[in-house]
Amino acid sequence: MAFGPHLLLAALEGLVTSAVLALMALGLSLVFGVMRVVNVAHGEFYMLGAVVAWWVASLVTGHPALGFLAALVISPLIVGAVALLAERLVLRRLDYNPEATIVATIGILYILQQLALTFYGPDARPVAAPFTYRVLFPWFGYSGYKLAVVGASVALLLVTWFVLMRTRLGLVMRATQYDRETAQAFAIPVDRVYAGVFALGAMLAAVAAVLIVPISQAHYLMGLDPLLLSFIVVIIGGLGSLRGTLVAAVLIGLSDGIISAFFQPTLAKMIATLIVALVLVFRPTGLFGTSAR
């Protein structure tokens, strides 16, 4: 294949990564923005979403689209419930102390991984795509489903944006993010907002996972890479900024797709992680900003 089409293909792959990454990073960013909690287990909620999706799809017979749609509804609900449980049982008892919650979410990460390994096993398993239509470009055919993932992600992001900016629920969340004490003084049930935001963040990760399993399979260790990429997106994009998160997700997703097509993926990851660490060191304000104690 010539360079041009090769680049187009790489860019398309990058766009799919961006779409999924945007959803996941949005979840991470919401949880950090509102609760000041760095959720290291975010990648495992994604993994859990994929594993549950496989489980639901394997129970549903008939057209693959049925199983997929069932997974799209049930998997985020289950993952949200697990997150809610973790929030109530662990994070709330730690009073959301930033350092203690990081240690605790590392614990949650390992427990979820262990559960997946024990009950799902070490194998990678796919979910059938709901449809197999291929879009024909002059140089190659491309999966219609992948393009649909991009569309679905954009739609979900628009919905999230609408909820955050245009509804009372969003107002309550933003008020809590702005100032916890004042929000409490205005009779906002901060406690419930926290629980809701944590569950919502996990559900966004689960949706991203359900969208991705027909493309890449479900595996109990699949959470780590997206977690690191989400961190990168959130740090580059700036916290609590929906637009920043989106721009960074597209940027990181595209460069990940393109760099992986032309370079060794390990080298690409190495350089990206190093750059982001240095960004955090030299420009901490506006990125993790006020969080640093």
Binding site: P98, V103, I111, Q114, G121, F231, Q264, P284
Partner: protein, 351 residues
């Protein structure tokens, strides 16, 4: 509040008591040294009575406890929570292992090479990461460690990547007084591990009881106040990172020499979490806590693997679930760890 009020009402007349009651940093050095010497004597005696399996385990635990002690210096005393200490351990591991494997260095110079690698890396990481605090410090150290881990994978031609490299027996010997010390011999290995452990234990003890150690604790408790007492807190924290890096890389270098294997697993994020877990379990900011935590966790994982394998054969278990549960239970219910709680309730002079 009511308690404070009550104390305020109390007359300020001095209660008659001993002039110099032993507590805190003013305790007589004798008792503290005796305790630590006793622990080392006990470990020395165990070498002669332990069955071979536990003998091997204990040698490994001693080396990993050195890793934990290095971590504890930074996390327990200076209050800096790093999530990237695997890079310092593996800097020592690779520094020693690869200089034997590729350059044919002798065991002592390889050990020195490992420690120097760790010191250089810790200095660089410290200068960069200490520009951040709190959560950002945790994330930054984790990311630098991830870069280190990916580096060991990327240069797999030299490092052996996931597979790692095995060091041959003849490379792990030290010529000494006409004969050779064979580090692969179980008894020698145990003594070498114990020697390193003892040196580090007493060095840490001396450091934390020195004025410099008191400054580290002061930074953990209130950095701003410490600055206003005239201390350059950045310099103190940097020294703490470097010393911590040196101790951890000494553990890594010793691991390479004593157990003969060097691989990227030791650079993975799990080996950054483990020392945190060991220190939390044993008790942060206690001198013996890291050893106690490492020992207990090692046997806890060992034991639970046996029990689960017997109870549910054919299921997929690994240590990670136990590690996860232990982390959450400790941080929720037992944040001071074993020795920390003992010190709080019963033995206030415990260092």
């Amino acid at each position: 509040m009511t308690g404070e009020e009550a104390t305020r009402e109390m007359p300020a007349t001095p209660v008659p008591r001993r002039r110099r009651p032993p507590a805190g940093n003013r305790v007589s050095t004798g008792r503290v040294v005796a305790l630590h010497a006793g622990v080392i004597a006990l470990l020395l005696a165990l070498q002669f009575v332990l069955p071979s399996y536990h003998h091997g385990v204990l040698a490994r635990v001693l080396v990993l406890a050195v890793f934990a002690m290095g971590y504890n210096l930074l996390f327990g005393y200076a209050g800096l929570l790093s999530l990237g200490h695997a890079m310092f351990f593996s800097a020592g591991l690779y520094g020693a292992g690869l200089s034997i494997y590729h350059l044919g260095w002798s065991a002592p110079s390889a050990f020195a090479g490992g420690v120097i690698s760790g010191a250089v890396l810790a200095t660089a990481i410290g200068v960069l990461a200490l520009r951040t605090t709190g959560v950002a410090f945790m994330i930054v150290t984790m990311m630098f460690a991830q870069v280190f881990y990916l580096t060991t994978l990327y240069f797999n031609v030299w490092t052996g990547g996931d597979q790692g490299v095995v060091l041959q027996q003849q490379a792990r010997t030290i010529p000494f007084a006409g004969s050779t010390i064979d580090l692969t011999d179980p008894a020698t290995r145990y003594f070498a591990a114990l020697a390193l452990f003892s040196v580090v234990l007493f060095s840490v003890l001396a450091l934390v009881r020195s004025p410099r150690g008191r400054v580290l604790v002061a930074i953990r408790e209130n950095e701003q106040r410490t600055t206003m007492l005239g201390y350059d807190t950045f310099a103190s924290k940097l020294v703490a990172v470097v010393i911590s890096g040196i101790v951890c890389s000494a553990a890594g270098a010793a691991y390479a020499l004593l157990f003969g294997y060097v691989g990227s697993t030791f650079a993975s994020v799990q080996y950054s979490i483990l020392p945190l877990l060991w220190v939390l379990l044993g008790g942060a900011a206690t001198t013996l806590g890291p050893f106690v935590g490492t020992l207990l966790m090692y046997y806890l994982i060992d034991l639970s693997n046996d029990v689960l394998a017997a109870w549910a054969p054919g299921w997929n278990f690994s240590a990670i679930g136990i590690v996860g549960i232990a982390l959450i239970l400790l941080i929720l219910f037992f944040p001071k760890g074993l020795l920390g709680s003992i010190r709080e309730r019963w033995v206030p002079w415990l260092p």
